[in-house]
């Protein structure tokens, strides 16, 4: 499907979607509270069939966080990017790990690296960082580790 | 038939095991296939390829001259702070001040042999040496000064 058709389809599912076509793939911005419901539709929709979440990450923009979901369809081979803006003070978004199982690990990684709280996640614990790192989120831009960090 | 299948199964299993054993006995009896290199003994004959990245060195010619202008391109290119260029100002015969290196400090213990400094050098002053036995008992010995004492820049290198 071309970008235009994809756009139309997403607008049908979610009328207030904001698009950004500057990148290689179509970017769609979604409010945080609407995201889990839309995600479910994206996978179930027969025209989109976004069954493969190949990248889930977060970007710290100093003013806010952006969750980035890279989705792909193994049937139609189109790629779509969904972005969810989060409040930096209280980052919270619903989990998608019941839709795409791979999100379970990726969300745990984002949780510890950025401190984003995934609502209804079944097992939101530290995955990579050792115990006692709760609250210190290494990939945030304001994180400073006086011992291990090498500044060039 | 149960019995024929049973016998076939056993026969197939034995055959597959025998194939593997044939292969291993081949290697047991053919010592020419042995690929072990006896490392410390073959040190004299061991030749490393000329591109092998062992450590960064600065070649000097017979007059104790190098090609480094002290431009710090290598220092900037280095991803992990391995190279530190300490510059000084020499007086040229005409009485002008000229930038030159005092010391080119190289931390072998930090180096990842990525070759970026050699690529970045505009005057080919440094290159990768094919040394490989780097272990020492004291970490300080891994901090090296690449330019020889009393060396100066080669004529005509800008």
């Amino acid at each position: 499907m071309s970008k235009e058709l994809l756009k139309l389809r997403i607008t049908e599912l979610f009328p207030e979607a904001a698009f950004d076509e500057s990148g290689e793939w179509l970017n769609t911005e979604v409010p945080a509270e609407k995201w889990p419901a839309l995600a479910e539709q994206l996978k179930a929709d027969s025209h989109l069939a976004l069954d493969y979440l190949f990248c889930l990450t977060c970007i710290d923009w100093k003013t806010h966080f952006t969750m980035v979901y890279h989705l792909s369809s193994t049937k139609f081979r189109h790629n779509l990017v969904f972005k969810v803006k989060l409040n930096r003070e209280k980052p919270e978004v619903g989990t998608v790990c019941h839709i795409w199982r791979t999100a379970e690990f990726h969300e745990r990684e984002v949780y510890e690296m950025f401190g984003v709280n995934f609502l209804h996640h079944p097992d939101l614990r530290l995955l990579i960082l050792p115990d006692g790192w709760e609250g210190k989120n290494p990939l945030r831009k304001d994180f400073e580790d006086p011992v291990n960090m090498i500044r060039l | 038939m149960f019995i024929t299948n049973y016998i076939k199964e056993v026969w197939g299993a034995v055959k597959s095991l025998a194939t593997g054993m044939k292969r291993t006995i081949y290697y047991f009896t053919h010592h020419k296939e042995i690929i072990t290199q006896e490392y410390p003994d073959n040190r004299d004959t061991l030749v490393l390829p000329e591109r092998f990245k062992g450590e960064v060195v600065m070649p000097h010619n017979q007059d104790n001259e190098h090609r480094c202008t002290g431009c710090t391109a290598c220092e900037l290119a280095c991803p992990n702070g391995t190279i530190k260029v300490i510059t000084k100002f020499d007086l040229t015969p005409e009485g002008k001040k000229k930038k030159a290196i005092d010391k080119l400090v190289y931390h072998l213990e930090l180096c990842t042999m990525c070759n970026l400094c050699v690529e970045a050098c505009p005057s080919d002053a440094i290159k990768m040496a094919q040394t490989y036995e780097h272990s020492v008992f004291d970490r300080n010995q891994l901090t090296k000064i690449l330019n020889n004492p009393g060396s100066k820049i080669m004529e005509g290198v800008e």
Partner: protein
């Protein structure tokens, strides 16, 4: 002719000249004990070196070649290292059992030496139930492994020990049944009788099909019984790190290690005795030139040659095959080896009654 039995008889006579018979017997027993311990040490060194060499050559490597000429002193160096190492006992371990277990493994291995005929008329104890004694005592090995596994207070050790228990108990059946084949053909449990019965040809040659099958089953079963790859589930290192001896170190580990090799030697010696005629030279028929030529080779050379051939076979298995899973291991025994060996025993019995063997 110069032989081991000759030396033994000379010593016996000399001791009887010097002391009264009771003292002579006691001294002889002590000497035998010392000889067995010496043999243990030598076998341990030789077998470890042999295993490493076999492994290396199969794996296109050179193997130990630094210590001494051709690396012959390598196992000496290893032993020295193991002796010097600290023998740790874990805090949570059952200390008495933990420390006793390796010695039990050694004692079992020593007991098994008794009925083995190393050369013509050279045997510690030619008891009339020799083969039965071997099968009975070798099953005690599992006790030491279970003790080691339980007392270590380590879950890996315990799992290794439990696996080993299941494995040894089940594989004893088919090992016993394949030994039975030879006993049926010979009609005696005594080791010397079994060897003399092969005076006109080894059982593997004159026993036809049932003995071949029994031989293969015996080799498989004893490989499993001695916990060697591909049946080394008790110490499966990629699953249980080191199985029942995970917590052992230093000399206590070395004793387990040694006991494993001694056990391999013993089961191969029994196998050689039963199927390949023990010290009996290669004979075909009776009283011909070929037999006399073969008799020139000393009987101890025959015995050790056959034993080491079987040991090589077991090492060859180890460095070729992947490991089985625990349920497959038990499947192999109960679904394949046991039925086959039972039918085979029936065949052998029929053959013995009808006199079809040579």
């Amino acid at each position: 002719m110069w032989s081991l039995s000759h030396i033994a008889n000379e010593i016996h006579r000399w001791l009887n000249d010097l002391f009264n018979p009771t003292w002579a017997l006691i001294i002889e027993m002590v000497m035998a004990g010392v000889a067995v311990i010496g043999l243990f040490a030598v076998l341990g060194l030789v077998l470890v070196l042999m295993e490493r060499r076999v492994a290396a050559w199969i794996q296109i490597r050179l193997g130990p070649n630094r210590v001494g000429p051709f690396g012959l002193m390598q196992s000496m160096a290893d032993t020295l290292k193991l002796i010097v190492k600290e023998g740790l006992t874990p805090d949570g371990a059952d200390k008495v059992m933990f420390n006793i277990a390796p010695f039990i493994a050694m004692i079992v291995a020593m007991l098994l030496m008794a009925p083995i005929a190393f050369a013509k008329d050279f045997q510690l104890w030619d008891l009339n139930i020799g083969v039965l004694f071997v099968t009975a005592v070798s099953s005690l090995m599992v006790v030491s492994i279970l003790m080691a596994g339980w007392s270590s207070n380590n879950k890996y050790s315990l799992m290794g020990a439990m696996r080993s228990g299941a494995q040894i108990v089940s594989y004893e059946l088919s090992a016993g049944l394949s030994i039975m084949t030879i006993i049926v053909l010979t009609g005696s449990l005594q080791v010397s009788d079994i060897i003399h019965a092969q005076n006109n040809g080894w059982w593997i040659f004159k026993g036809h099909f049932p003995v071949w099958v029994a031989f293969v089953i015996y080799i498989i079963a004893v490989t499993a019984e001695t916990n060697r790859a591909p049946f080394d589930l008790a110490e499966a290192e990629s699953e249980l790190t080191a199985g029942f001896h995970t917590e052992y170190s230093g000399m206590k580990f070395a004793l387990f290690f040694l006991a494993e090799y001694i056990n391999v030697f013993i089961v191969c010696a029994i196998g050689a005795t039963l199927f390949l005629g023990g010290w009996m030279p290669l004979h075909f028929g009776t009283d011909n030139a070929f037999n006399q030529a073969m008799d020139w080779i000393p009987s101890s050379v025959w015995f050790f040659g056959k034993t080491f051939f079987l040991i090589f076979l077991i090492m060859w298995f180890r460095w070729t095959f992947p490991r089985l899973r625990i349920d497959q291991l038990l499947n192999l025994e109960w679904k394949y080896l046991l039925p086959i060996s039972m039918i085979n025993l029936l065949l052998a019995t029929a053959m013995a009654i009808l006199g079809w063997h040579f």
